[in-house]
Structure formats: C-alpha cells, structure tokens
C-alpha cells in the first residue's frame, strides 16, 4: 500500500481550499496514523474534495466511529482509496461540547457507507449528525434517552440480577430485588 502521508494530503488541502480550517493532529502511538482535524463548518467541503480530487480519490469511507473525550465528542472517519489503493487517512470532526451543541455535519451525502455508522455513533454517543437523511437510533429502542457508550453513563439498576449464590452478587441481587422494579 503505497504510503500516502497525512502531511501530503494536508498540503493539497491547503493548496486547494485555503479557507478550510484543517490541521494535523499528531498520533503518539507507533502506528503513525496522524489525523486531519477539520473544523465543523467546512467538513463537507473538505470531504467532497478528498473524494473527488484526481490525486487522492479517497472514495471508500470504510469506518466511522465516535469517541468520547472529556470536553467534546469526536467523529473519526477512516478513508481509503479503491483506485489508488492507498492507506487509512484519518479525518476527525469535533463537536462544540458534550451537551446541547453536540452536533457535527453528516458526511453520508459524500460516502453512503457512513449512513448506518453515523446512526450508531448518534445512538451510542449522542453526536447529532446534521443533514443525515434518516437519523434514528440504530441499536437501542426509540424511547431510550441516555447514550450508553459515554464515559459518564450509569447503567440502570433495573435489570434482573441473576442471584448467583456466591460473593457480592448475592447482596447486589438482594438490593435489586428489594428496590421496586420500575414497571416498563
């Protein structure tokens, strides 16, 4: 896989879209997959360029995953090029904060593969993807309010504990069954 370095992609981006706010985020791990952090407003424009530029042709968004950091939520896109067969270019967009302004533009218009994965990030992290054709919860049921994969998520205590007769689980089961089970 001929190595396409994020730096060369960054230079082409600055050359083509000078007003796009894109910067390189250093990745300390030995994998050396440094990411391109793009500002929310011009994420779609950058994505269009990455996909259609004859030099890059990153037309295969293989993986989209949300990550929960203390101050913001992040959507990470791993882009590949089928024609040129070069490597994962990591594109990151960050939300304003983890509460009201947790929204990021959806790139499903550019890469259809991001459809279900963005819905999953919305379902498990609460990242609202603006412009997503059908933003619903992917895995949890519709009435579920909280976002399970966030670090501050507290698992509800209403599930039926298997009263396995050993160790602390017995006490937890007793406590659980003692408290009234909320009628679903």
């Amino acid at each position: 896989m001929s190595p396409l370095l994020p730096q060369t992609v960054l230079d082409r981006l600055h050359a083509a879209l000078p007003q796009a706010r894109v910067e390189l985020v250093n990745n300390p791990s030995p994998s050396g997959q440094h990411a391109l952090l793009v500002h929310r407003e011009d994420a779609v424009q950058v994505a269009e360029f990455l996909k259609n530029d004859p030099e890059l042709l990153l037309d295969y968004a293989s993986d989209v995953s949300g990550v929960d950091y203390p101050e913001y939520l992040e959507a990470v896109y791993h882009l590949f090029s089928i024609a040129k067969k070069h490597g994962p270019i990591v594109l990151k967009t960050r939300t304003g904060d983890r509460g009201a302004d947790a929204s990021v533009p959806s790139l499903t218009r550019v890469w259809k593969s991001a459809d279900f994965q963005e819905r999953e990030a919305f379902d498990l992290f609460g990242i609202r993807f603006e412009g997503h054709p059908d933003l619903r919860r992917l895995l949890m049921w519709e009435e579920f309010e909280d976002f399970p994969l966030r670090k501050d998520y507290v698992a509800p205590n209403d599930c039926e504990y298997e009263p396995t007769p050993h160790g602390d689980i017995v006490q937890k089961a007793a406590a659980a069954s003692a408290s009234p089970v909320p009628q679903a």
Binding site: E162, T164, P165, H166
Partner: protein, 212 residues
C-alpha cells in the same frame, strides 16, 4: 451435454449417490456421519476445554491443593465468574489456601484466560460437557469440593500438557532447591567466614600467650 433440465438431473445424481452411499459407508466418514450421541460418545481431542477445575497433588484434596488464593484469576477473568475467599488458620492469621473457591459455570465462557494467568499451575481446563442442572442458579455454581480433581485425573485427560506442567513444576522446585542450597551455602560460607574470622581472633588472643 447441457440440454435444458440436465443441471437438475446432475443434481439428482449427487443426491442419489449420497442416498446409496449412506448404506455402504461403514467407516461413518463420508456418507453417513451421524454419531448416535447417548450410545456413541464423541472422542474428545486432548486440548478440548469446557470449564476450569482445581488440581491437587497426592490423594488428599485439602492438603495437596496447589491454589494459594492469590486471586489473580479472579481479577483476570473477563466475565468475573470466579469468587475466592482466603482461608484463615486457627487464630485468624490468613494462610495461603482458599476457604471458598466458587466458579459460576453459567457465566463462565471457557476462555481459559485463568489458566494462562495462574502462576501456580493450579487451575486447568476440564473437558466435561454434561453439566446441566435443574435450576438456573444453585447447581450451576461449582464449589471447591466439586472443582478439586487429582493430578492423576489431569494426566488422564491431558497426558502431554500434564507432563509438561509437572516438568515445569519439577524444574521450578529444583531451581528453588538449588537457590535455597546456594543461599544456604552462601549463608554457611558467610557463617564459616564469620566463624573463621571469630576463630581467627580467638586464635589471635590465645596466640599471644604462646611464644611466637
């Protein structure tokens, strides 16, 4: 020859081959592979694992138990299905032996990470597979007496692995003895040297009285 309908006839030929073949497949290898379970038991491979068990040396489970209740396996077990309580001797001082060692086999997924992480070779994977009970919870928690099985049983189900484990334990014991002997020798040497020095000084005191 592919006249219309020939594909279907070729397909039918394959099924016919299997129907007739199943009556002549004595070795039960190709055309008739059913194992009539209760009567014909499956021959398990040596490495096949199901649930963990505790190994004890010699013939008395309580004395020969290898486990020292260090709780590494309890921490490492992904679904947290092992529960250990350290034993205390007569006057309450904790001793290196588990009083309670439960494994909840309804939670255990047989991933044998406990076997890998046990430094004392005391927990091993069994290959029993008929472990059903009439209640969802109580019978599926194996307590220490049910878990303890002799080293001979371990040799029975896994000859090569048991032999390798015994070899490792033997080597570790020999190394410990060698280390102990070396330490003892060093201590003895140190004592001898000290004694020699002491003897030397005593000699020195007694020697002035003797004419040089």
């Amino acid at each position: 020859m592919n006249f219309p309908g020939s594909g279907i006839i070729k397909g039918m030929a394959v099924t016919a081959l299997n129907i007739v073949g199943s009556y002549f497949d004595r070795a039960h290898a190709k055309r008739l592979i059913t194992e009539q379970y209760p009567e014909e038991r499956p021959k398990l491979a040596e490495a096949s694992r199901s649930f963990p068990f505790l190994v004890f040396d010699g013939d008395d489970p309580e004395k020969g138990i290898r486990c020292v209740a260090c709780k590494i396996c309890e921490k490492e077990c992904p679904p947290q299905c092992i529960y250990i309580v350290k034993d205390t001797d007569a006057n309450g001082k904790p001793i290196m032996r588990p009083k309670v060692f439960d494994i909840d086999i309804s939670v255990c997924m047989g991933c044998q990470i406990c076997v890998e992480s046990c430094p004392f070779e005391s927990i091993r994977m069994d290959n029993i597979y008929e472990v059903s009970g009439y209640d969802r919870f109580a019978p599926l928690v194996l307590h220490k007496p049910q878990l303890l099985k002799s080293n001979a049983y371990y040799h029975g189900i896994r000859p090569t692995e048991a032999a390798a484990t015994d070899a490792r334990i033997e080597a570790a014991r020999l190394r410990k003895e060698a280390a102990a002997k070396a330490a003892a020798a060093k201590v003895a040497a140190a004592k001898a040297a000290a004694a020699a020095k002491a003897a030397g000084e005593k000699a020195a005191e007694t020697k002035p009285t003797q004419p040089e």
